[in-house]
């Protein structure tokens, strides 16, 4: 009994889930879905599938299936008992209906699907799923087939008839197991967490929903719906203020989050903390995967605490730097001085205390200034680049190949003093590091200088190993690095490798147009895959040791990782602070790399 109940729930749940994102074909966005009308205007959570058939196509599509098959957890799951039992039932039903799973889904949920959660004041929450089939008769057939299966299965086991059914206002409804009920009303499949929920929806269908009572009349919903992209497959909307009222513990964001989160996302976490709603959307077509989240700015604007996080009108993060071979690139607008000032309020006490210890090295390296003064000298644009290097040009070529890292600071326009101090600090740091490496018998860094395109680069290079070294001994990974700094216009480059410094100097000389984001991050899966492939034999050996696998298994594991990275292609995360809202977007150009492949 439990088995078939479990299987049935599995089936319904997965169908439901897929149905949320499957549905009709080419339904224009302006059309209000039939099912949405039934949702109350004060629904707390609303999720809708907008472009259904397309998702079935994507999931059933070759490249996605191939990707799934390379994920070891997935392969293990499809070999598991739960899956095969569920699959049995599904195949049985499909054969009864004479269809395949993807066709069946398109038929079943073709008209759209909506999942909603309503919490009346002082009442119990109700969750329900509305599925609009493309083919109403198909829905009825599927239902009959499932009921038959359940009855037969119970009879085989000598158990009583599991199907409980009742009538309400002339509509037949069925109960499935202990919880949950469903009915087919006006050619819409209504699945609810309780009989009461289903009854209420039947009422709404038969009596109609009064004007202004439905969510489609709600102003907020309408605005959010209008904002979703035309190619979105699904979108959702939740009222955070009501969720917080209902269950503070689950939905409240802690006052203070760990330092890295706060530093990067502080103001947006605040928006999440105080915002009255949140909206999200998902789009997926062929080669593009796009997701977005929108939050309103807090009522009355952000607290003064967050001054360092939001660029004022007209300011934004600097354009990304992407020299050749870039694996990842980041650009962030952050007023470090303002963040530093507010550190006691922004960060947890132990973190704030640890941060105050930065005053000491600030004084040592910047001649008596404290950290606030140093932070004040840096302008608000921060850029970070991680790039593959040209290893063939290195002397010697290190055995383990690392990427190069660089931080590009913007300086205040007329400050002549600070860039010099930065360069001095760099050289002092190198000196200190050399003293340390003498103790560890590591070679020191030789300081040098180079002029490139009329810019002076302060370079360093690890002393070359003596000739006559054991050829079998691998070249140390430190030879990946040649830390260097350069002052270009209003920018200061701090880089781990002089090659990257040169590329950045070139890139900074021809700056791209500024954008309107506060944070932009780009990453290129296939560039990363290229780097890892260069290190493949090492990765295989490390995989063997870290996972206890043999060579063949390890090679498979590494190749899987590489193909997933290549599949993910090029990804971009942007965060925009608009007039009233904050928007976070994540886009992937699947299977592509920025630049080289057409």
């Amino acid at each position: 009994m439990a088995r078939s109940a479990l299987a049935r729930w599995w089936l319904l749940f997965s169908v439901g889930l897929l149905a949320v994102v499957t549905g009709g074909v080419g339904r224009a966005l302006a059309e209000v879905p039939k099912a949405s009308r039934l949702v109350q205007s004060d629904a707390v959570i609303y999720l809708e599938a907008t472009r259904p058939s397309d998702l079935v196509d994507q999931v059933a599509g070759g490249s996605f299936q191939k990707l799934l098959s390379t994920i070891p957890q997935y392969s293990r799951y499809i070999k598991s008992e739960d899956y095969s039992r569920g699959r049995e039932i599904l195949d049985f039903v499909l054969s009864k209906l004479d269809t395949t799973w993807d066709k069946g889904l398109r038929n079943l949920a073709g008209g759209g699907a909506v999942l909603a959660v309503e919490v009346p004041q002082g009442g119990l929450p109700s969750i329900y799923l509305l599925i609009v089939p493309r083919d109403a008769s198909f829905l009825t057939q599927a239902n009959t087939a499932l009921l038959e299966l359940a009855r037969k299965d119970a009879a085989d086991k000598g158990k009583p008839d599991p199907v409980k059914s009742a009538e309400y206002r002339g509509i037949r409804g069925w109960a499935t197991g202990e919880k949950g009920a469903y009915a087919i009303v006006n050619d819409v499949l209504v699945v609810g967490d309780r009989g009461d929920t289903v009854k209420r929806l039947i009422d709404r269908t038969l009596d109609g929903v009064k004007a202004g009572q439905s969510i489609v009349d709600d102003a907020a919903w309408k605005t959010r719906q209008a904002e979703t992209r035309p190619d979105a497959l699904a979108w959702g909307f939740a009222r955070l203020d009501r969720l917080r009222q209902i269950d503070a513990k689950k939905f409240e964001v802690p006052e203070k989050t760990p330092l890295p989160l706060t530093f990067f996302f502080g103001s947006w976490i605040e928006a999440l903390r105080k915002g009255s709603w949140i909206a999200a959307s998902l789009g997926w077509s062929g080669e593009k995967l796009a997701a977005g989240i929108t939050l309103p700015k807090p009522e009355g604007g952000y607290a003064a605490l967050y001054k360092g996080f939001i660029p004022p009108e007209g300011s934004a993060a600097a354009p990304l730097l992407s020299p050749p071979g870039t694996i990842a690139s980041l650009s962030l607008w952050r007023d470090l001085a303002a963040v530093w000032e507010a550190k006691a309020d922004l960060f947890q006490p132990q973190e704030a205390q640890d941060l105050s210890k930065l005053d000491t090295p600030a004084g040592q390296f910047f001649g008596g200034s404290d950290f606030a003064a140093v932070a004040g000298s840096i302008n608000n644009n921060w850029r970070l680049v991680i790039a593959r290097q040209d290893y063939s040009k290195m002397k010697p070529v290190p055995d383990l190949k690392y990427p190069a890292f660089a931080l590009v600071l913007d300086l205040k326009p007329d400050d002549e003093d600070f860039p010099l101090r930065l360069k001095m600090a760099f050289q002092s740091f190198v000196g200190l590091a050399n003293l340390g490496s003498a103790q560890n018998k590591a070679p020191p860094l030789e300081l040098g200088s180079e002029t490139f395109e009329e810019v002076t680069i302060a370079t360093t290079r690890f002393m070359l190993p003596k000739s006559g070294t054991d050829p079998q001994e691998p070249v140390h990974y430190r030879h990946n690095f040649s830390p260097s700094v350069a002052h270009v216009g209003n920018h200061f480059i701090i880089s781990s490798s002089v090659g990257l410094t040169r590329d950045l100097i070139k890139a900074l000389k021809s700056p791209a147009k500024s954008g309107d984001t506060t944070l932009t991050i780009e990453a290129d899966g296939s560039e990363l895959a290229k780097l890892l492939e260069i290190n493949r034999s090492r990765m295989v050996m490390q995989n063997m040791l870290e996972k206890g696998q043999d060579k063949a298994q390890a090679e498979e594991g590494v190749d899987t990782l590489l193909s997933v990275l290549r599949y993910l292609g090029h990804g971009r995360l942007t965060a925009r602070d608009g007039a009233d809202t904050f928007r976070l977007s994540l886009d992937f150009a699947l299977g592509r790399s920025k630049g080289d492949r057409p």
Partner: protein, 415 residues
């Protein structure tokens, strides 16, 4: 295996009546009254050493605000007398050390002033080496004073580790021993039995594991008996620890890193493990620039953490058998430098918390005028402090560890 070890094994096997390992003897062996026995020597006293890395500025820790030389030498770094926690009319503790001042009021704090060694070395590395090995002469020494003490304490096979370092740093030189490897522990996890499942599952499994070891075997095999005894002792220790371990929700310790490490030490002590020496450190005292904020934060962490530790032990009735000592590789120069900080110095105070014989200041404050090249002169050799802790507290002869000529400095009451 050396002949000595064989002899130990034979004698320990005979002594603990393993031949008849029935239900009476085992609990007797493991009972609380045998805690002293499992500690391996006449007393169960514990020493906790907190190493302050970087060179703590003693002058701004134990502040001689009443001495004229203080405001003269410390302009920007001067601490206002009003905020200082008074020990005597002229000398008091840094404003951040309120909790430590309370310990002093309760008679649990001794401040030994002017501690150092002849011909002070101002290099971090060398001076810390001197403090950790208790040798001022040149020449590489590979064992530390606590390592040598551990080598000197009698151990039987099966005894708990005599000393433990708490934290994630690599093992301190002070704990390097010739004959044993002192473990470094970062969390309590390795002292627990990692059972899984529901509460009743875990209890059932623990009982089953215990039973297998507890059953009397027919044959008389001393080695097997020894393994049985070790296994049971281990399970028992783990159980004691779990019974005592507080839920982290109602931990009364502040969230500082040092507090967490001291909390772990307190748990191990309360669970009755035979470990005698605990060692941990706090980093960040090398304040060459912008000292005020950093130093205040560090002393706050130090003071609050030690106070919480002491309160924890006191509530478990263990505070009279635990002594805690803080030390640093040197103090700092009397005159502040131009970067609102201080540079490496020499003599400094050592704090001792526990059942002290004479709470308050021990020894005079070094003169602020009669200086050794700008640094305070020491009048108490640090090895006298070590000698007191070794001989009169831990019950370990001082001469093999420190050499001769260091009279123990009377510090602690022996309860």
């Amino acid at each position: 295996m050396s002949p000595n070890r064989r002899a130990f094994l034979k004698s320990s096997l005979a002594a603990s009546t393993l031949v008849s390992m029935g239900a009476h003897t085992v609990p007797g062996f493991l009972s609380r009254s045998a805690r002293a026995a499992s500690a391996g020597s006449a007393n169960g006293r514990v020493l906790v050493v907190v190493q302050l890395l970087g060179g703590n500025d003693g002058l701004n820790t134990v502040v001689p605000h009443g001495l004229e030389g203080y405001p003269r030498n410390r302009r920007a770094l001067r601490l206002a007398p009003g905020a200082i926690h008074k020990i005597t009319k002229e000398i008091g503790l840094h404003p951040s050390m309120g909790q430590m001042a309370k310990l002093h009021e309760d008679g649990r704090l001794s401040v030994i002033q002017g501690v150092g060694y002849p011909n002070p070395d101002r290099s971090h590395f060398r001076s810390m080496e001197i403090w950790e090995t208790a040798r001022v002469e040149n020449g590489a020494l590979e064992t530390g004073w606590l390592g040598r003490a551990v080598d000197a304490l009698p151990t039987k096979a099966g005894d708990d580790f005599r000393a433990v370092q708490i934290g994630t740093r690599s093992l301190a030189l002070a704990l390097k021993a010739k004959r044993t490897e002192i473990p470094s522990v970062a969390s309590l996890e390795q002292f627990r039995l990692q059972l899984s499942g529901s509460d009743s599952d875990r209890r059932a499994e623990r009982d089953a594991l215990d039973q297998i070891a507890r059953l009397d075997r027919d044959a008389n095999d001393p080695l097997l008996g020894f393994m049985r005894r070790s296994t049971l002792s281990a399970y028992d220790s783990s159980k004691r620890l779990e019974q005592l371990a507080p839920a982290s929700a109602d931990s009364k310790y502040p969230t500082y890193g040092l507090a967490k490490r001291l909390e772990l030490i307190a748990q191990i002590i309360k669970a009755g493990f035979g470990t005698r020496i605990f060692y941990t450190s706090l980093d960040g005292f090398d304040t060459h620039a912008n000292q005020l904020g950093t130093h205040a934060a560090l002393l706050n962490e130090l003071s609050d953490s030690i106070a919480a530790f002491h309160a924890d032990l006191a509530s478990a009735g263990e505070s009279d058998r635990v002594a805690l000592m803080t030390f640093s590789e040197f103090g700092r120069r009397v005159r502040e430098n131009a970067s609102l900080g201080t540079d490496h110095g020499a003599a400094a105070p050592v704090l001792v918390v526990g059942p002290v014989a004479k709470p308050g200041l021990v020894g005079e404050h070094p003169s602020l005028d009669d200086l050794d090249d700008g640094d305070l002169k020491h009048h108490t050799d640090f090895r006298r402090v070590y000698a007191e802790l070794l001989e009169n507290w831990l019950g370990c002869p001082g001469a093999p560890v420190l050499g001769t000529g260091f009279d123990p400095l009377p510090l602690l009451r022996k309860a």
